[in-house]
Amino acid sequence: MSSTASKLLTERKTEQSWGNRLCRDLVKNKVLYLLVIPVIIYYIIFNYIPMYGILIAFQNYDPAFGVRASEWVGLLNFIDFFSSIYFWRILKNTFIISINTLIFGFPAPILLALLINEITSKKFVKTVQTITYLPHFISLVVVCGMIKDFTASTGIINDLIEFFGGQRTAMLMDPKLFVPIYVASDIWQGVGWGSIIYFAALSGIDSELYEACKIDGGGRIRQTFSVTLPGIMPTIIIMFILRMGSILSVGFEKIILLYSPVTYDTADVIASYVYRKGLQEFNWSFGTAVGIFNSVINVIFLLSANWISRKVSETSLW
């Protein structure tokens, strides 16, 4: 093709406006766009319309009037929340539970993956994996039912405590024990399943790197620190960033199942407070305002973690 002809063709392409190209694409891929419309409708209805519902937070919402006719109160609901006697308690509990879950729950799957990786018998590996994945599939209601039963004053955990010379207590009624029970059961349910991702990462490490390390005289420990950990570090970082993004959406379903007025002092978190005040007590606007507070802080954490990660390493979500 002569150079003038090809120049003409490229000019013609860039001359077409975006709108024009879009129209042609819509015609060419008509069926494709039709196929995706239900998907888009789904997201609009169940994700974007609720986002519009955020306006409720700035109103004194009354379902009878709807969003348009309800009275506007500006930041009143937020101020009510921040000045509420429970504000600091809720914030404190949310952070304590989040951070504890992070410190104990985040490394656990990584450790498990590394340890299972050291097992030589394939059959044993398979067995351990199959069994440790199992708790993840048990429903939360059943897990909480078991927790309630085992920690009851007549339950087996208290039997063991008494056997070792301790005192029996109704553990779920004790505010001091709520966080340990919550975190421990989280780990029980999630450590096996969580390790799958790290296995995937481990299998992606080039075996030549291990060879090179061995040739340089590195033993197993050296290999772990110089090859394995750096190899799965990108995965660890991404998982960590994602975790940050939901730091305040602490597993509230479980909290709602396990908590009671007796343990609100350590168990009540932002999300459970939203549920109680907003839904159970019908304070729609107030509940929405608190929910927004939750979302905004999650986004801030997510962006910060991503930004820090970008500065410090090469890995980040975007």
Binding site: R21, D25, N29, L32, L35, V36, P38, V39, I40, Y42, Y43, I45, F46, N47, Y48, P50, M51, Y52, G53, I54, E118, I119, F124, Q129, T132, Y133, L134, F137, I138, S139, L140, V141, V142, G145, M146, K148, D149, F150, I156, D159, E162, G192, I196, I197, A200, G204, G219, R220, G245, E253, I256, L257, A271, V274, L279, W284, G287, T288, G291, V299
Partner: protein, 292 residues
């Protein structure tokens, strides 16, 4: 060198012990529940400590469970939700994944952003609740199916999987005159059996175990799915609804073993299906992790 081997040996021993501990810890709670459900209720209440086998085996508790209306209706509702729900999940997720995996569509990136944005920001619980209610889904089983029709995470996994299908297959189909629907139905889906199995598993288990949306949107008891019934029994001490035709004294002592039986009856389907599907979901997570 020799020190290395001794240290290594110790490590292997400790590691193996730890793994055995993990196995026991993960399995024993369910085993205890199983044994307790088969035990005599009075003896069970008096018992202290771990159970190594059922005490005076009987199936009274299971009789009570299987005769109970709420359990029956709970099961029926959950089966409906899982079957219809997973079908809708598959349909919607495939459509979205198909669109997002096409190479020459203009609006793809915009729509991708539109969708993934929802993973990080949302309106919150209350606007969600009000929206679903205002559509008229309150007290309908569809409230448990439609709002959760698509999991963005799952759709991304499916999209990644679709993208591994060679473009040449689609090209030759297009030359033969195939439109998008044909390509999706005759080429992409048949080649995606593994990822579809993963989706069925992920969505299926999700529906089977879910309770929160049911609690939000249902107050007609005959609509309650299994987990919600379980919640009443296990966490709200409502075994009274289970007692039919027994004396009060009997009723009080059966309720312990009945709770255990109810757990087994509700979890059994998952436990039996689980071993067979294990390799599929491991595959699923790995596809998502490595390429997502």
């Amino acid at each position: 060198m020799k020190n290395e081997t001794i240290a290594r040996k110790i490590f292997v021993v400790v590691n193996t012990a730890f793994m055995l501990f993990m196995i026991v810890i993960c399995l024993y709670p369910m085993i205890y529940v199983l044994f307790a459900s088969l035990s005599d209720s009075n003896l069970l209440m008096a018992h202290r400590g771990l159970l190594m086998s059922p005490i005076k085996t009987n199936i009274e508790s299971y009789k009570a469970v299987l005769q109970n209306d709420m359990i029956g209706s709970g099961y029926m509702n959950t089966i409906f939700i899982v079957t219809v729900g997973v079908l809708i999940n598959l349909l919607m997720t495939s459509l979205g994944a198909y669109f997002l995996s096409r190479r020459d569509v203009m609006l793809k990136n915009i729509i991708m952003g539109f969708i993934t944005f929802t993973m990080f920001f949302g309106g919150g619980l209350i606007p969600f609740y009000l929206t679903v209610k205002s559509i008229g889904l309150y007290n309908s089983l569809w409230a448990l199916i439609l709002p959760t029709a698509i999991s963005t995470f799952n759709m991304i996994i499916m999209r990644t999987s679709f993208m591994t299908i060679p473009a040449s297959l689609e090209e030759s189909a297009k030359i033969d005159g195939a439109g998008h629907i044909t390509i999706l139905a005759r080429i992409i889906l048949p080649l995606s059996k593994a990822i579809i199995a993963v989706m069925v598993l992920f969505y299926g288990v999700g529906h089977w175990n879910s309770w929160f949306n049911a609690m939000l949107f249902l107050n007609k008891r005959e609509l309650f799915p299994l987990q919600l019934v379980l919640r009443e029994i296990l966490l709200q001490n409502d075994t009274q609804s289970m007692m039919q035709g027994t004396s009060v004294a009997d009723g009080l002592s059966i309720s312990e073993t009945v709770k255990y039986a109810v757990i087994i009856v509700a979890t059994l389907p998952i436990l039996t299906v689980y071993p067979f599907l294990q390799r599929y979901f491991v595959q699923g997570v790995m596809v998502g992790a490595l390429k997502g």
